[in-house]
Structure formats: C-alpha cells, structure tokens
C-alpha cells in the first residue's frame, strides 16, 4: 500500500462526487482535444492543398481570391489570362510544370465546380509526397472527365457516366456538350475530391467558351500592352485559316471536335512547379520568388505562393478563431478545476477525522498533504485521460459528418502533438487545486478531530 492507493481509495469512497468532478474535467479536455485536432486538420488541409505548386499565376487582383478559386474552388475566378501568355510561361526554362486551369462552370447535377485542365495536372503531387490515384483512367480524349471521390459518391457517378455542365455566369445556361467520366480519383482530403476535371481541349470547344475573335484580340492587346494589329500579326496564319472556314460556311456542330483559335482561348490561372537545380529544393523557392517579382513588374498578371497566402489567412482570421476556441476550452478546464477544488475542499470537513486517524497511526503532516494532492492530480489526470479518449471519440464520430457536409477529410485517429502538453498543464492545475485542501489536511489538529 502506498500514498497513491490511499488516494485512490479516498476517491472511490466519494465515487459520485469524484466521478462528476472528473467528468467536468473530461468534458473540458474533450472539447479542447476536438478543437485542436480539427484545427490541425484544417490547418494542414489549407497548407497542403496547394503545396504541390510553387506559384499560381493569374490576373492581377486579390491574391487570396486567386488561391481560393484556383486551389479551393470556393471563390469566383478573378479574370482570365490569354492562352499566349500561358504558352510563354510554359516555355520558360526555369519551369518544370505549367498547368493551365479554366474555371467558372459547374456540373448540372450537384453543382460541383468544373476544372478544365490538361492531363499533366494529375502528374503533379497534390501535396508533398502524395500523388493522384485513380480508378479508371486520367484524362485522355477531348470529352473525357475525371471526377473527385466526393462527386462520385454524391452524384452516384461511375466510370462511363455522362454529364453536362452549367455555364458560369448569370444565365444558368446548360451546355449541350457532354463529358464522359473516365476516372474517379481516390480520396485526397483536398478540394479535388469535390471537383470535376474535364479536358481543357473539350472545355474550350464548348459553345460560348471561345471568346469572339475581335473581343479576344482587343483583350489580348490590352493585356500585353500592344495594338490589336500587333496581335493580329501574331496570329496571322490562324486568322487567315479561320476566315477561310468562315467563308466556306463551316457550321459549329457541338457534338464533334473542332479547332478553337489560340487567340480565342483563355485560362483562369496557371499552376506552376519550378525546376529544381543541382538537387537543391531551395532553388525552387528562389526560382518562384524571381518569377513572382518579374510578374509584379510587367503585364497584368500576378504570381502568388498558395501556402504563403493561406498561412496569412490562417494567422489573421482562422488563427484568431482557433485562439478564441482554445481560450474558451481552457476556460472550461479551469472551471472544471474550480469544481474539483470545491469538491475536495468541501469534503475536507467530513474528512478531518479520517485524516486525524491517519495522523494518529503515524502519518506525517506531509503525508496527508500528499494524499490530498495525489487525489487532486488523479482526478485531473483521470478526467484528462477520459477527456482525451472522449475528444478523439468525438472527432471519430464527427469525421464522417464533416466530410459529408464539407468534403473535408478528417482522420478519425488524427493526433496533435500539442495534446501532450495538456497533461503537464493538468498536473500543474491539479497541484494548485489540491494545495489549499492539502494545507487544511496538513493543519488538522489530530486530538481535536479525534475527540469530535
């Protein structure tokens, strides 16, 4: 028998009161654990989703909007970039991958965002060390589509399913063209799960996606800061060919492939992976910084680092919410601590005799003080441990619901290292709580308590 056994016995003797006070700590800890885990998952999700790319290039405007539209697909795109600009970026020697994406449309069923892109999109890691896996095939033909896992689940689509898309904008026009699902992505825990990827060639060929020629030439001239004539010179042969076709009375039948002039093509943004030089990953960072600065000086485009932007958002907005939640749960634990204090302190009056008996049997003042302190620590730690399990149970139970509602994948077994800090904190809290009742035990007058 040791002090711990004596403390456990004392706790068991007041089982109901002890259980309730322990439970209050457990609830506080459970809430804190749930907040920590979910916050960690969201934080990782925001920083991981775009971490495969060094830079996102898009039209000048809000950098946050560019990231939210290009990576998270939760914001309307800013504007478009000319195809010619994309080809210039693609041909740069310091760039490994330049993946154009065209956004704006949604699926007719379910309203999932459409991403027009090239097959190379799936060759780039969507997060550090994580590659896309697919059931079926990635994009091959013009009218092929690859869908995210959540899209497949919600719409009940499988390989071979066909779908139409609604034109982005205010008219809600349903395009006639149909895409066929060729592949379903394995779940990634990123917005890709809620996205529908169609071949960029097909995307361009949809009626209304190619800009009217004159408007396209004028916009491109504006973009590059040249005259429309200069732009016409750039596309001299293509324009002549198009005029010939027009003269032949070519009818744009939407059910078959046809050429869209490069001058008419636009992309929403370009996802960029820089080249690594001399096996030094830092060269990617410096390369992207140089390109970003270069873009800042010219044209009408901007380059943003998605992680940087999201980290800023997390720090400024989400970070504050997280802090508020942590403070709140901390407060709950503190209130629980006060509950334990009140419970133990109130029990001291009843326990004076018990303490006096122990003292009469030879227990020193420090011994009875330690027993009371041990009780407080056991209650806090027991409650904390139960709260830890409860918190993870909460996350485990909530994960499928959150996933179903937001597409956010939460690992039910996710563990945040910061949770480990809870236990030393609880021990300190318990020591503070147990101090005063311990002191009461320490000061108990044995003869007086025994005679009563």
């Amino acid at each position: 028998m040791n002090l711990l056994t004596i403390a456990i016995k004392s706790i068991r003797q007041r089982l109901l009161a002890s259980s309730l006070t322990g439970l209050s700590v457990a609830l506080g800890v459970a809430l804190m654990v749930a907040v920590l885990v979910i916050n960690g998952v969201i934080g990782r999700m925001f920083s991981q989703s775009g971490s495969g790319y060094d830079l996102i290039i898009g039209p000048k405007g809000s950098d946050l909007q560019l990231v939210l539209s290009s990576i998270y697909r939760v914001s309307p795109p800013i504007e478009n970039l000319p195809w010619r600009f994309y080809t210039q970026i693609r041909e740069r020697r310091d760039i490994e991958h330049a993946i154009p994406i065209a956004l704006g449309d949604t699926t007719e069923e379910g309203g999932f965002p459409i991403v027009g892109t090239i097959p190379q999109y799936f060759g780039v890691e969507y997060a550090h060390g994580r590659k896309f896996l697919v059931k079926g095939d990635f994009l091959q033909g013009t009218w092929d589509a690859v869908i995210g896992a959540e899209v497949a689940r919600k719409n009940g689509w499988d390989v071979g399913s066909k779908f139409r898309m609604i034109h982005g904008g205010q008219d809600d026009h349903v395009h006639d063209e149909q895409f066929t699902v060729r592949g379903i992505l394995k779940r990634t825990g990123t917005p890709n799960d809620r996205s529908v990827f169609v071949h960029l060639d097909g995307f361009f060929q949809i009626d209304g996606h190619g800009k009217p020629l004159e408007e396209a030439i004028n916009r491109e001239a504006d973009f590059f800061g040249v005259s429309p004539e200069t732009v016409r010179e750039w596309y001299g042969d293509d324009l002549a060919h198009a005029e010939e076709e027009e003269a032949d009375g070519h009818d744009h039948d939407h059910a078959h492939d046809h050429e869209v002039l490069d001058a008419q093509k636009e992309v929403t943004s370009i996802l960029v992976v820089m080249k690594t030089r001399n096996n030094n990953p830092l060269t990617r960072t410096t390369g992207s910084l140089m390109l970003k600065n270069e873009l800042k000086e010219g044209f009408q485009a901007q380059g943003v680092n998605p992680i940087e932007v999201m980290r800023r958002l997390m720090d400024n907005l989400v970070g504050n919410v997280r802090l508020a939640l942590l403070y709140l749960t901390g407060l709950i634990i503190a209130v629980s601590g006060i509950g334990i204090f009140v419970s133990i302190y109130n029990s001291m009056a009843d326990r004076k005799r018990e303490i006096a008996i122990m003292r009469a049997l030879g227990a020193r003042r420090q011994t009875v003080f330690s027993v009371i302190l041990a009780e407080s620590i056991l209650l806090c730690l027991g409650g904390g441990l139960f709260g830890l399990l409860l918190g993870h149970g909460l996350v485990f139970a909530a994960a499928p619901l959150v996933e179903a509602r937001s597409g956010l994948l939460i690992d039910p077994f996710a563990f945040e290292p910061i949770e480990l800090v809870l236990f030393p904190v609880l021990i300190v809290l318990a020591s503070l709580i147990g101090f005063l009742p311990g002191l009461t035990a320490y000061r108990t007058d044995v003869a007086d308590a025994l005679s009563n």
């Binding site: 028998m1 040791n2 004596i6 016995k9 004392s10 068991r12 003797q13 005799r353 018990e354 008996i357 122990m358 003292r359 009469a360 049997l361 030879g362 227990a363 020193r364 003042r365 420090q366 011994t367 044995v446 003869a447 025994l450 005679s451």
Partner: protein
C-alpha cells in the same frame, strides 16, 4: 521501563481566555510487558493523557519517556515516526477507515511506519478471528469485528506500548469480555505493555494493577 511520566503538565486556554489545567502528573511508570488499567471519570483527562503519551499532543512541561525515548524532546515528525513504529492505539470508536478493507486498515498503519508486511497483517487478523473477513470493509463487519480489526491494526508495527482508550465502551456486553481478553492476550503474546483507560469498574476488575487517575493526576493552574 516501558513508560515513565515525570512532572507532566498540560493545560488548555479556553475561549474566554481562562487557563484550564488538565494534566499534572508528578510520576507514573509502567514496566515492559505490564498491563495497567487507568480508571477515571469523564473529563478527567484520560484521553489527554493518552494523547500526550502517544505524542499526538505536546505537554507544557515534564518528561514523557516511552521505551527510553523522551517524546517531549522530539520534533513533531519524530513523534509521528515514533508513534507509528512503537505505539499501538485502540480507540473507543475503532476509527477504522471505511474505504479500506480489514486487511488494508491493518496495512495502513504499517505503511506509515514504512514496513508494510502483508503476511504479518494477515496473521494478526487470523489471530483475532477474522481470517475469513480480510477483504471486508468496516461497514460489512459487526461492531465486535471492527474492534478486532482495530486491535490487529494496533499490533501491526510490533509496538512496545499499546494505548487503549475505552476499547469496550462501544461494544455490547457479549463482546466486551472477548475484546478485553483479546487485547490482553495479544499484548502478552507480543510482549507489549498495555495502558488502558476506562471508567468501567467491570473492566478494571480484570486487571492486576488498577490506577485511579485522580490519585496521581492533580491538575492545577501553573505558570
């Protein structure tokens, strides 16, 4: 000598500020292995005397020598340790801890002396007839059985002196003699001196040496 008291004085300050003398013992001694009963009326200072002998209460002056050690010269922690190791106490109301089993109650005293001996605790409980009630908690035991546990607990650390404060006052007549015999027999078996206080003459009649507290305790106001 197991116990020697010399000029022991003790008084309390009452709420109105007056000094209330409780003990004034010029001399009292108990040989090793001797069994003495101390008879006195309620409020005569019996319990205070036992508390002073066990070191629970400090005295104002004088010497309290137990097993050759003057407790008045020991600091509180030393008295606690000494009490745990060399003095066994049986209370009138048993004072068992209700959350602990019979065996654990016996072990508890051993724990504070730093020498928990499960086998010896079990042997003691078997000796007092509770071999089959080791894991029963006090509320599950009869009054007589509870007092037997208290006797076993008092002997747990192989004390040199046992102090018994009206140990039969809370038990029925049938159990009274049994408990009394048990205390006396076990003390004899272990060579433990016994100082029992009582106000019952029936109990006192069973002892060879009976001391009237009033004969040697003459409280008076002292400086």
């Amino acid at each position: 000598m197991s116990l020697q008291l010399h000029n022991v004085k003790k008084s309390y300050r009452e709420p109105d500020g007056n000094i209330l003398p409780v003990l004034n013992v010029e001399s009292f001694a108990l040989d090793q292995g001797e069994q003495v009963v101390l008879v006195g009326e309620s409020g005569g200072g019996k319990t205070t005397l036992l508390n002073a002998i066990s070191g629970i209460t400090t005295v104002d002056s004088g010497e309290v020598i137990v097993d050759g050690v003057d407790l008045t010269r020991l600091p509180e922690a030393g008295r606690d340790r000494f009490r745990a190791e060399r003095i066994g106490i049986v209370f009138q109301t048993f004072n068992l801890l209700p959350a602990f089993s019979a065996l654990e109650n016996v072990l508890l005293g051993m724990t504070f002396a730093g020498r928990a001996d499960r086998d010896f605790a079990r042997t003691l409980l078997e000796r007092v007839g509770l071999g089959k009630r080791l894991s029963h908690r006090p509320p599950q035991l009869s009054v007589g059985e509870q007092q037997r546990v208290a006797v076993a607990r008092a002997l747990a650390n192989r004390p040199r002196l046992m102090l018994a404060d009206e140990p039969t006052a809370s038990v029925d007549l049938a159990n009274q003699n049994t408990i009394l015999s048990l205390i006396r027999e076990t003390c004899s078996e272990h060579g433990v001196s016994l100082l029992m206080v009582t106000h019952s003459h029936d109990v006192a009649d069973q002892f060879d040496r009976v001391e009237q507290l009033a004969n040697f305790n003459k409280p008076e106001v002292h400086a």
